[in-house]
Amino acid sequence: MIEVKDLHKSFGEAHILKGISTVFEKGKTSLVIGQSGSGKTVFLKCLLGLFHPEKGTISYDGKIYANLSDDEKRDLRAEMGMVFQGSALFDSMTIAENVMFPLRMFTKQSKSEMQDRVDFVLNRVNLFEAHNKMPSEASGGMQKRVAIARAIVNNPKYLFCDEPNSGLDPKTAIVIDNLIQEITDEYNITTIINSHDMNSVMEIGEKIVFLKDGHKAWEGSNQTIFKTDNEAVTDFVYSSELFKKVRQMYLEERQ
C-alpha cells in the first residue's frame, strides 16, 4: 500500500503539485489521469523517489520514504518495477539481457536460475521468441512488453507505469492493459498507472485519481466515474462523442 499525504512539489516559481493526498491499495490497479501538464508525471516521479517533494509524505507499507536512509531507499527501490513511457530499455543489451538485468544486480541466483526466470517472464508477456533480439529490432508493443517483463522479473511489491500504451494501436493497448491487470492480480502488487487513455480508465481503473492543475480534483473507480457530476472529470473523460454516448447508455441502463 502506498499512502500519499499533502504532497507539494515546485520547480522554481512553478508550483506543480499542490497538496495531493490519496491511498493506493495493494492488489489494485490504480490510474492517475489528467490533462497534459496536470502534474501526473511529476507525481509519479515523486512516488518513485526521482523527485523530492518540498512538503508532504509518501509512505510505502507504513515506511515514510523521506525518513529512510540512502541504503534503505535503494533497497526499497529494488522492490519497485517501472514501465517507462518510452520503455527505457538498455539499448546495448538484448531483450533477454534487459530482463535479466535486475536479477544480475540484486540476486545471487545462478545463471541457469536467472535464465529460467527470464524464460518464465518472457513467456508470461508472450515474447519467448524475442530472446536474442536487440530493443531496436522490436516493435513499440514488444518493447512495452519487455519493459513489463523487466519490471516484474524481480517480484516487485510496487509497479509503476507511465502511459504504458502511448503510441500503441488500440488492440495492442488493450493487450498491455490486460497484461498489467493480470500481473497485478497474480502477484498481488500495488500498481499505479499514469494514463491519458480512456479505454484504460474504463477497462482497468479499479481506482482512479484525477489531477487538475496540481490538485486532486476527483477520486473514484471505473464504476463511479460514469455517475460523477464533477465538471472537471466529465469535461476531461467525456470530451469525445463516443464516450459521451457510452456514458449516456450506461446511465440509461441503470435507470
Binding site: L48, G49, L50, D70, D71, K73, R74, D75, L76, R77, A78, M80, M82, F84, Q85, G86, A88, L89, F90, D91, F101, P102, R104, M105, F106, F160
Partner: protein
Amino acid sequence: MTYLYNIGTYFLMIKEMFRKPTKWSVMKTLIFKDIDDLIFGSLGIVAFISFFVGGVVTIQTALNIDNPLIPKYLVGFATRQSVVLEFAPTFISIIMAGKVGSFITSSIGTMRVTEQIDALEVMGINAINYLVFPKFIAMMLYPFVISIAMFLGILGGMAACIYGGFSTLEDYITGVQMDFNTFHITYAFVKTFVFAFLLATIPSYYGYFMKGGALEVGKASTTSFVWTSVMIILLNYLLTQLMLS
C-alpha cells in the same frame, strides 16, 4: 554562480562514483567493455596521428637548423623531447577529449534522454557508479595509449628523418638517447594519469546532468569537449610549473 554550481555538482558526482559500488560480476563486464571502447578503440587514430606528427616535428626541426655548427643528432633529441614531454601526453589528450569525451557524453546523454538512467535509479542502482566508475577504471589504462603514442611519434620522426635525408639513422638514434632524463617520463605519466581522470569524468558529468532532447546531447558533447580541453591545458600548465620548474 552557474560555474560554482557546476564545480560543486562535479565534485559531488566524483564522491558518488565511489559510493555504493555495483556488483563486481556486473562491473567487471562494464569495465572490459569500456576498455574496449575507450582504449582499444582509440589506438588506431592515436597511432596514425602520433606517427605523422612525430614526422612533422622532425622535419620542422631539421628545416629550422641551418647553422652547420649545430650537430645533426639534435633533430632526434628535439623530436624525443617534444614527443615525450608535450605531444604524447597533452596533444593526444586533446584529441582524446574529442574522440573519447564526445563518445562518453553522447552515450550517457542519450541514456538520460531515453530515461535509461531513470530506469537505473528506479531500480535502486547507483547510476553514477554504474556509468562513470567503469570509464574511470578503463581510463587508468590510458598511459598504455600514451606509451604507444610516444613510441610511434619517435618512430615517425625517424622515418621522416631518414627518408627525407635530414640526418642518418645513427645520428637520429644518438639524439634520441642523448641526455635522457627518466624524470621526464615520470612527469609525462603523472600528467597522463591526471588527464585520464579528466577525460573520464568531465564528459561523464556533461552527459549525466544534461537536460533536454537529442539537440542538447549534441550541445553537451561540444561543451564537454571545450571544458575537457580547457582543463587539460590549465592542469598541463600547473603540473609543468610544479614538476619541472
